[in-house]
């Protein structure tokens, strides 16, 4: 396991093998082998791109849904969580401490679509006691990436 390599990939999954090797002071073969190894071990789960869909007409809506769930005697919230995560509409599922049990982030084309998913799929699900739906109005920062313009570089070209 190479923590520095993970940190670089977490920052930018598109660094080339050559650059990664140089930046870490190891060989390209080592970079490739370590990434494969970490994928196999399940340390690296995937590579994605952060898209600012709001700039396109095809923007989607998403909502954070608080679920209260009756825990099962042996498996607790596990069964409900695993069932919910199977739906394509579901982007994220977390087990939470505090006021509610599962946090589910749902994506859809319209508010209507998301609301329907909550009403028809999540709310009636066995064990689900209550839902509270919070729609996302604007995304400012996601996965460390700023989506609303940043502080920019106001340095000049020359400074000693």
């Amino acid at each position: 396991m190479n923590k520095k390599l993970l940190k670089l990939l977490e920052k930018n999954a598109r660094y080339t093998t050559t650059d990664l090797a140089t930046m870490l002071g190891i060989t390209e073969d080592e970079v490739r082998a370590q990434i494969e190894e970490m994928k196999k071990e399940g340390l690296i789960r995937g590579f994605k791109t952060v898209v600012d869909w709001e700039r396109l007409d095809s923007a989607y809506v998403s909502a954070l849904i608080e679920l209260n769930v009756t825990p099962l005697p042996d498996s607790g919230f596990e069964e409900a969580a695993k069932k919910i995560m199977k739906y394509d509409e579901v982007e994220t599922v977390y087990l939470m401490s505090g006021g509610y049990d599962l946090c589910v982030i749902v994506k859809g084309k319209t508010f209507q679509e998301v609301a329907m998913f909550v009403g028809k799929v999540l709310a009636p699900m066995k064990g689900v006691i209550s839902t509270a739906t919070h729609f996302v109005l604007r995304r400012y920062k996601e996965l460390d990436i700023v989506l609303c313009g940043d502080e920019g570089d106001d340095r000049g070209n020359f400074w000693l």
Partner: protein
């Protein structure tokens, strides 16, 4: 009409203009310049530090502080020096200044007078010579050599010492070379300094920025040197706080006291908001330093490798955030190289000669830029070198 030339201070008027003014002007006329020419971090000041400054304003902390800086800040500075560099000072031996820049100015003014000689190893930061000149001292330049990674040797030092020599400026980790002085290097020059009863102004503003397992050692830690050393440091580079204008000096009490006296008349006290932010930086900023150093280190490797691949040899700098590649193979002078590169590829680098005549044959490259930016600059520089070779 007033003849201003008769009114102006002749020492100030005689100071050499900065070696980058011309390049600055040229690049101002251009669009889409990819610059590697800036000596300040690209990171923003970490938010918790900015936040502490903002909070102090909200709480109405808008007045002067004690001349020498707030007591809690001086306590934190001293604790930080102990924790990170194993140096022992009392809070009264710390003076909070307007950047490391003011600390350098004060140290020179407190130690140097008419007729004194000050040894300045070069290539190095540009402020030492002018400040010495204004104080009435004489700068004596020691030319550092690339073949020993720009380390100051006892022989080079001994050679320039006269009975007028009073102060040695020790600029490590070094802007522009990225060179450092290891403990064994310092132990070699210390006996010479002691033998000739010299004082040292040690500019350690880049102390936190060292790589490949190197840890900065201060000359003040070497036997017999604490009592001869003024350490200059600051927040600009360590915490990405250049615009806050805050630094400090650490020295034995008689020196700090005199520096404080000058500071009291010239400055009153360093910016209050910045002092509050600095307390937060010292208390809770060690992780920020680590994050930035790790990031600089990956860029450093990328840039060193990039230059060597292009054919501009580049020793591995172990400190600061600069690399100092040699451009002698192009047959151009440093200035010609930088000017041609700027005009033809819109890449900005600083000619080594901006840091002293012995910087000829080198250029300073800052890696305070994103990896994408650095790669683009390296690509363009690579093309430039190819075209130069093709046109021979």
């Amino acid at each position: 009409m007033i003849d201003y030339s008769k009114k102006l201070n002749s020492k100030a008027a005689a100071l050499k203009p900065s070696g980058i003014r011309r390049f600055f002007d040229i690049s101002e006329q251009m669009e889409n310049v990819i610059s590697l020419g800036v000596g300040e971090p690209d990171f923003q000041t970490p938010w918790h530090i900015r936040s502490a400054g903002i909070e102090s304003l909200e709480n109405g902390k808008t007045r002067y502080t004690a001349n020498r800086g707030m007591e809690p800040l001086r306590k934190e500075i001293v604790a930080y020096m102990k924790r990170r560099f194993n140096l022992t000072y009392s809070p009264n031996e710390a003076l909070v200044t307007v950047g490391g820049s003011e600390a350098i100015d004060l140290a020179v003014r407190a130690l140097v007078e008419q007729g004194d000689e000050v040894l300045i190893p070069q290539p190095s930061f540009v402020c030492y010579e002018p400040i010495v000149a204004l104080a009435g001292g004489t700068s004596v330049i020691i030319e550092l050599k690339s073949d020993n990674d720009f380390v100051l040797t006892p022989e080079q030092l001994e050679e320039k010492i006269t009975d007028k020599t009073k102060v040695l400026v020790l600029p490590y980790p070094c802007n522009p070379t990225g060179g450092i002085m290891r403990k064994e290097d310092l132990e070699k020059i210390a006996p010479v300094i002691i033998k000739h009863d010299l004082m040292v102004i040690s500019d350690e503003i880049y102390a936190e920025l060292t790589y490949s397992g190197e840890r900065h050692i201060s000359i003040a830690e070497i036997d017999g040197m604490w009592e001869r050393t003024v350490i200059v440091s600051g927040f600009s580079k360590t915490y990405s706080m250049t615009g806050w204008r805050l630094g400090y000096a650490l020295a034995p009490d008689p020196i700090t006291a005199l520096m404080t006296k000058i500071h009291q008349f010239a400055i009153m006290s360093a910016p209050t908001t910045s002092q509050y932010a600095a307390i937060e930086a010292l208390k809770n900023g060690d992780d920020d330093i680590k994050k930035m150093v790790d990031e600089y280190d990956t860029r450093r490797r990328l840039v060193v490798d990039g230059f060597n691949k292009i054919g501009l040899t580049c020793f591995e700098p172990l400190g600061a955030f600069y690399v100092f590649p040699c451009i002698k193979s192009t047959g151009l002078t440093s200035e010609e190289f930088c000017e041609k590169l700027l005009y033809s590829k819109k890449v900005a680098m600083v000619p080594g000669t901006a840091f002293g005549d012995c910087g000829e044959g080198f250029v300073r490259v800052s890696y305070c830029y994103s990896v994408e930016h650095l790669k683009e600059a390296l690509n363009r520089t690579g093309e430039f070198i190819k075209e130069l070779k093709g046109s021979e």
